[in-house]
């Protein structure tokens, strides 16, 4: 092995020494691999100096670069750094600037994200920095430009931060495709992947390098473990609630912990939780500690402010959502508090890594379960962290809609030969198994929509020309592409603008923009309703164009935003652990007394779900009959099961009315006495839960399901079938939603095998529906369903019963609402006559 001195230029060794630091072995190992021309994957826990390791090859290379002489061609872009989060790019810029300035290196570092102003982006294209810190979407945009070849031709390194989180989504597919094109522009390009521990590192090693033979792998450098984190579950004298996600009960204890520590990071799972927690903390913030809020809906400038204050150690606590849970370095955080259950063991490990960013010191974390089921989940997650369990999801095959977007982008950059682009595309690991025929279908889709009925030849977006290349039909296509790029489809949102109520009661126009909020949430509000946003209680005044107008209010108890963002389903691994805990009273000892009592009570009144059995309870309540299924398979799988069971019960004339799903259980209610029907054999449970529901029933239901429609909408936007935005005018979310639904209906009845319908079904099976998990469960519980017929609600059923009424209405229930409204009128009319 080469010695440090051969690897590191003097200016670097001096710099390390001036700080009394020594370069770490993995930093040098990575540098050496880079010098040898290899791409590498670095797997290391947080605090291991991963970021510096990733940048050392570029920094040393750039430091040794010849000084540009007059008349020399200006150097082009040298290094790209890609992170999943805008905040991360900004944070890295800050952290990187320090060593570069201290060493006096002539290196220009800039960021480019969705928040970067247009003039700066233009300038960057002409005069690129040496190191560009950016997001996947920006790379695709740059690649779709006619100048892409020139812009990227000298690119030497590309660093992927938090690679494990980038690759598991459609965003990762888009990035893999972009990488395949970057390799084309800069054939000697070397990749450096930085990742937390993952279940299967080989996936990432493949992802990082071109798959020409399928045997290519990046080098792997692994840094072992670091100190074990010190995690505990919050001890409290307060009563832990049955359901809900706010953990309001624990505020006093949480605040106490903040006062006892230097800097605390508080993680929550959803933005609404973040808002609520922030407000609650300030209500009891008697010492006026600087406590800040950070989530994705807030205005970018507000987020940047919080990040900067945090880096300067000016804050005592930050309440944050997943926008912050990736490797941002936060100076002196000495405590992480996690509100609510972490939903996945790996996610917990990631978030806890935020405290004490020095590998050799244990991080300190406290979990605060928001309800009683979460107590068990936290306990399970805690056990998992100690045994180092990894539940990162497996990588999926490259999505069709993403490829369609990429193909159009490539046509915008320059005309392409179909076979050349095909070979380039299958060099990207996620698309390795894509057949040439399927690729041709997708090209056809990009060109004319790929319909069996060929009526759109004259409207083709890309055309095959005489020289055999595909090129875009007109420049507007490129403009449209640029406006619709990306794979992240947010729920339609509106800006929230603060206004004042004038003395005469009218509403002013101006005022600062506070952030964005989901349109569907606003639809539930009437003017005068209050809600929590940006850390304050606002009064909803109305919607003007694409803005939500709100004024300040002194109302203390707002309606709470029911943001959908950031809801994660319970991971299979944790579900399994929770199930194990339930059946083993020995494990209850480690649970708080009130949770133990709750489980004891359940044992007395009904039964506890046992391993590999499915507990099903039925009971009447308010003239309705409920059945609760404790299956612990996560919200998505439960939702699918709920849909399918409701359909079956409908066919069996049990008159089901609705269902609600949580991570732990599924509740279905009906007009008929379900318990009685199960007991006397009118409905056979084995038949009801037969796996064949995943066959025809699933198909039939899927076709009408709003879930599939929502998935279709995403596929349609990503693939460019419908627009995200019009040049010049924003479509409002509602219009997009309506037209996507209607297009879906038309396509379903005329061309159910259209390539976009295929893409939609494939997405739904792994995403919103979690069919794989459901089918595993149905298999497991075959012949093992235990029915408890009760006269009253059971203790275990309380949490899910409290969720009822919070879910959207679906399917047949729509008709019943209509007929109910019509009947009310008829009754009223009849009343007048008599």
């Amino acid at each position: 092995m080469a010695s440090d001195h051969n690897l590191l230029p003097k200016i670097f060794t001096d710099w390390f020494e001036s700080h009394r630091w020594a370069p770490r072995p993995h930093q040098l190992a990575l540098l050496e691999k880079a010098h040898q021309g290899y791409s590498s994957l670095l797997i290391a826990p947080t605090g291991a100096g991963k970021t510096l390791a990733g940048f050392l090859p570029s920094l040393t290379d750039l430091a040794m670069r010849e000084k540009p002489k007059p008349g020399m061609v200006k150097p082009r872009l040298h290094t790209l750094y890609v992170s999943p989060l805008k905040a991360l790019a900004v944070d890295i810029e800050r952290n990187l600037t320090t060593p570069v300035t201290e060493m006096g290196l002539p290196i220009k570092i800039e960021t480019r994200t969705g928040d970067t102003p247009q003039h700066k982006r233009q300038r960057q294209k002409l005069d690129p920095p040496d190191i560009l810190l950016t997001t996947p979407e920006q790379i695709s945009l740059l690649l779709a430009n006619g100048q892409a070849e020139l812009f990227f031709k000298d690119l030497k390194y590309i660093i992927f931060d938090e690679l494990h989180s980038l690759v598991t989504s459609k965003r990762g597919h888009l990035l893999a495709l972009a990488l395949s094109r970057l390799r084309h522009h800069a054939p000697k390009l070397q990749t450096i992947g930085l990742s937390a521990t993952v279940a299967n590192p080989e996936d990432l090693q493949k992802w990082l390098v071109g798959q020409w033979t399928g045997k290519e792998r990046a080098e792997k450098i692994v840094v072992e473990g670091g100190a074990k984190p010190n995690i505990s579950i919050l001890e409290t004298k307060e009563r832990i609630p049955w359901s809900g996600h706010s953990a309001r009960y624990a505020m006093g204890d949480v605040y106490q912990k903040i006062t006892e520590h230097q800097t605390t990071l508080l993680f929550v799972n959803t933005r609404s939780q973040a808002e609520l927690l922030f407000q609650e903390l300030w209500t009891i913030n008697e010492e006026n500690l600087p406590i800040a809020l950070h989530h994705g809906s807030l205005d970018a400038s507000k987020r940047r402010k919080v990040e900067a204050a945090m880096a300067k150690n000016a804050l005592r606590a930050v309440v944050a959502t997943s926008t912050l849970d990736l490797g941002i370095d936060w100076g002196d955080v000495d405590l992480v508090i996690h509100i609510g259950a972490p939903k996945g063991a790996s996610r917990l490990a990631q978030r806890i890594g935020r405290s004490n960013h020095r590998m050799d010191e244990p991080s300190k974390a406290i979990l605060v379960p928001a309800n009683r089921f979460e107590v068990m989940e936290c306990k399970a997650a805690l056990d998992a962290n100690y045994i180092g369990a990894q539940d990162t999801p497996p990588l999926l095959e490259g999505a069709i809609d993403v490829l369609a977007q990429h193909i159009l982008g490539m046509a915008c950059a320059k005309p392409f030969f179909e076979d050349e682009l095909y070979r380039e595309v299958i060099s990207a690991a996620p698309y390795r198994d894509l057949s040439e025929a399927q690729f041709a279908r997708i090209v056809e889709f990009v060109a004319t929509g790929g319909y069996a009925l060929k009526t759109y030849e004259r409207y083709a977006r890309i055309r095959k020309t005489k020289d055999g290349t595909w090129r875009i039909s007109n420049p507007q296509i490129a403009q449209q592409y640029r406006l619709n790029i990306g794979t992240i489809i947010e729920a339609p949102v509106l800006n929230v603008r603060l206004t004042k109520r004038k003395a005469n009661g009218s509403i002013g126009r101006g005022g600062p923009k506070l952030g964005t909020i989901e349109e569907y949430f606003l639809e539930m509000l009437s003017p005068g309703d209050t809600f929590l946003f940006s850390g304050q209680v606002l009064r909803f005044e109305g919607i003007r164009e694409n803005e939500c107008l709100a004024s300040k209010t002194f109302d203390e108890s707002p309606k709470i935003p029911a943001y959908a963002g950031g809801k994660f389903p319970l991971s299979t691994y944790l579900a399994e652990q929770v199930r194990k805990m339930l059946i083993d009273p020995d494990k209850w000892k480690s649970l708080p007394g009130q949770v133990r009592d709750w489980l004891e009570l359940q044992k007395r009144v009904s039964k506890l779900p046992s391993h590999n059995e499915l507990l099903l309870e039925t009971f009447p309540r308010n003239k309705k009959h409920y059945m609760i299924i404790y299956s612990f398979e996560g919200r998505l799988a439960h939702q699918t099961l709920g849909m399918l069971l409701t359909r079956r019960l409908e066919r069996m004339h049990a008159r089901p009315l609705g269902f609600v799903a949580t991570d732990y259980a599924l509740a279905i209610w009906a007009l008929d006495d379900l318990g009685e029907r199960f007991r006397n054999g009118l409905i056979s449970l084995a038949e009801l839960f037969n796996e064949d529901m995943l066959g025809d029933d699933l198909e039939a239901w899927l076709d009408e399901s709003w879930l599939l429609k929502r998935t279709f909408r995403n596929c349609a936007i990503i693939s460019g079938l419908i627009e995200r935005r019009h040049p010049g005018k924003e479509k409002t979310g509602r219009q997009v939603t309506v037209s996507a639904d209607l297009i879906y209906d038309v396509l379903r009845s005329h061309e159910p095998d259209h390539i976009l319908m295929q893409a939609t079904r494939a997405d739904a099976a792994t995403g919103l529906l979690d069919i794989r998990r459901l089918s595993d469960m149905l298999m497991r519980i075959k012949g093992r369903i235990v029915h408890q017929k009760l006269d009253h609600i059971s203790p275990l059923a309380v949490p899910i019963m409290l969720e009822i009424g919070r879910e959207p209405v679906n399917g047949e229930a729509q008709e019943s609402i209509l007929s109910e409204a019509a009947e009310e009128f008829l009754n009223e009319a009849a009343g007048h006559l008599t």
Partner: protein, 239 residues
């Protein structure tokens, strides 16, 4: 000729609702067409034919099946009522180019629907000019007894007006859940038709565009259900 009564064909008596508009009997069919028994006239509004193609012309390749689907649904209604006259109440095509570039198949289907009856294309804001490449009379508005048929509702003249344009939809909220469906909107003086085109959306009756058009005390939304019409009064709609 022995004509079967159209209503005898409807197995569900609720599938169409008989009501009076400005003294004239009208039948609101749950499929979104209006029938005038005395004049044997079938009215349909906002077909938005060739909407897919209109988008395709602008670079978004929506499925090309909306036209045939809409025409097929219309054919079922025409078969049931066997009207002497069919009036398409404007926005028959999503854009003016629609009728010109209409694919042969759709052209033939329209001819088939038109055979043996009068056909009127009322002009709409999407298709303001007469359709010259297809059969049928073109007009800005027509009258039928005391009724006046036009595309856009007029603010100051409600009497006996049948119009479309606004794509009315009712939003019904019960138990914190809401349902949105296309509807006929009428206060007995004027009636606004639901949009019939397969890929057309709806606008809530509470939207400001409807303001001042109806006497809300008499306003009813005849909501299109899967198999029946649900008559719902203004006061029963979400506030």
């Amino acid at each position: 000729m022995n004509i079967v009564s159209p209503l005898a064909l409807n197995t569900n008596p609720k599938s169409a609702l008989h009501t009076e508009l400005f003294g004239v009997e009208v039948v609101c069919d749950h499929r979104g067409v209006l029938y005038l028994p005395t004049s044997k006239m079938l009215i349909v509004s906002d077909l938005h034919l060739e909407k897919g193609a209109a988008f395709a012309r602008r670079g978004m390749l929506h499925p090309p099946y909306d036209t045939s689907q809409t025409l097929l649904r219309l054919k079922l209604c025409i078969d049931d009522y066997q009207p002497e006259t069919v009036v398409s109440l404007g926005d028959s095509f999503h854009d003016q180019a629609g009728s010109e570039f209409l694919p042969e198949l759709a052209r033939d289907m329209i001819k088939l629907l038109q055979a043996g009856r009068n056909w009127v294309w009322i002009s709409g804001n999407h298709d303001p000019k007469p359709h010259t490449s297809i059969e049928g009379d073109c007009a800005d508005e027509i009258s039928c007894g005391p009724l006046r048929l036009c595309h856009e509702p007029e603010t100051d003249n409600a009497d006996g007006e049948i119009s479309g344009h606004l794509h009315p939809a009712a939003v019904i909220t019960r138990r914190n859940k809401s349902v949105r469906r296309a509807c006929f909107a009428t206060d007995g003086k004027r009636l606004i038709m639901p949009s019939f085109g397969s890929t057309t959306g709806g606008l809530s009756l509470k939207h400001k565009a409807f303001k001042g058009l109806f006497e809300t005390s008499n306003l009813f939304a005849h909501v299109l259900g899967k198999e029946q019409i649900y008559p719902i009064s203004w006061s029963k709609m979400r506030g």
